[in-house]
Symmetry: C2
Subunit: 240 residues, 2 copies
């Protein structure tokens, strides 16, 4: 049975402030939790229902009822387990290879998808502006499908990051050079901007190479590609 | 004020059966509705609140209260307008250029994103298996962001489609040829399969060229790319 304190902790961890305070985050559902258990992340507590067939013998497991799971879950259809993990220590930034920089990505689903894409393409770090959505937000954890354990996340003042950078900085914009015709070096920084407003002026001044995914349709519509789609295509171009 | 019959119609149109019966579908929010109004789609009825600043002078407009909008909307934060459009007549299939075939895509968000990608890359038709989610599902309409008006959608028995096909059929699989090293012709069919199970056996037998987006990370994780991400990368490869 869940204690009042446990329920309070789980509820609190849905908020960023409490995640920072406790240095803990939530993960839900078999797939994501098992990927995180199988990673370098330290488990703080695992709650499971009798439906769960345990593959991992871990300490800190606690049986709860389906009713309790429904109560604490953020899902409309909760999936057998919910876990609390420790937020890992931040690794040192590596200034080599291809680094992805995110400037105020707001949507948790987009950030989760981008983390998953980086995992696929072997990009092992993402540098985010401080106003980018928190990567330990439960919706980000969910959308990243365990890739969060393999991609290290850095939140910082991007101006300070760029001041130390010597690699060329590619920015995804609507008025840049055709990406299919641009030479894309192995040592580079790629910047993607906010869903509605693109790259902010403060970050734009650090961009050395503006690139664009050209639109092929005959009717040039006003809509741009979703930022996660643009990331997929650009990472593919850098890595192909 | 909304009549009982209007409320019933709007509620009914959230279900596929009723959309087929009435030959109507719902669209919500300023961006999507205005893109559809600006297209070839015929408006049946537009409901708007006093907040809405009308750019279009159309017949069949009806003022409703915010409370009424909240009641009929499928959104948690309804956005000023909700419209009913006629489902357009199905255009003839074109068997030239690049055609995208979807084999049992279940997630409305994925289908909407894929429609938007096709619009961007100038693919003007998508052929879907009969068990693919309905493109007039309100969540698909929402995620496609108006691209639905520019990409024609065909639902059919895929065996019948493939029997008439002479173009090479490329299938996205986990064990195919590296797509970055495959010649990709302008005249082709590209098949993407179900989110969990990939391309079904019935469709796989028509695939002439198996292709794969290679994974670049050092740790080969079990997770595959989301189907919308894979579509973004593959369409980019065919069109670049």
């Amino acid at each position: 049975m869940l204690s009042k304190n446990q329920i309070k902790l789980i509820t609190d961890l849905k908020k960023k402030k409490s995640r920072t305070k406790h240095n803990l985050f939530l993960a839900e559902g078999i797939k994501v939790v098992e990927e995180l258990l199988d990673s370098k992340f330290n488990l703080y507590k695992l709650f499971y229902t009798t439906d769960y067939i345990n593959k991992f013998s871990v300490d800190n497991m606690q049986l709860i009822s389906n009713k309790e799971l429904n109560h604490i879950s953020g899902f409309s259809s909760p999936n057998q387990i919910i876990a609390i993990f420790e937020i890992p220590e931040i690794k040192d930034q590596i200034n080599s290879g291809l680094t992805l920089v995110l400037d105020e990505i707001n949507d948790p689903g987009n950030l989760g998808t981008i983390i998953r894409l980086c995992d696929w393409f072997g990009i092992d770090q993402i540098v985010c502006s401080k106003n980018t959505v928190d990567c330990y937000n439960p919706k980000v954890v969910q959308a990243s499908m365990g890739s969060l354990s393999r991609v290290s996340m850095h939140y910082c003042d991007l101006s300070i990051f760029f001041k130390k950078e010597s690699r060329p900085v590619f920015g995804a914009l609507l008025n840049g050079t055709n990406v299919y015709k641009s030479p894309l070096p192995k040592q580079a920084v790629l910047v993607l901007g906010n869903e509605a407003n693109g790259i902010s002026d403060n970050v734009l001044k650090w961009v050395t190479n503006k690139i664009t995914i050209p639109q092929f349709g005959e009717t040039q519509n006003t809509e741009s590609l979703n930022v996660a789609m643009a990331t997929a295509i650009l990472l593919s171009e850098f890595k192909r």
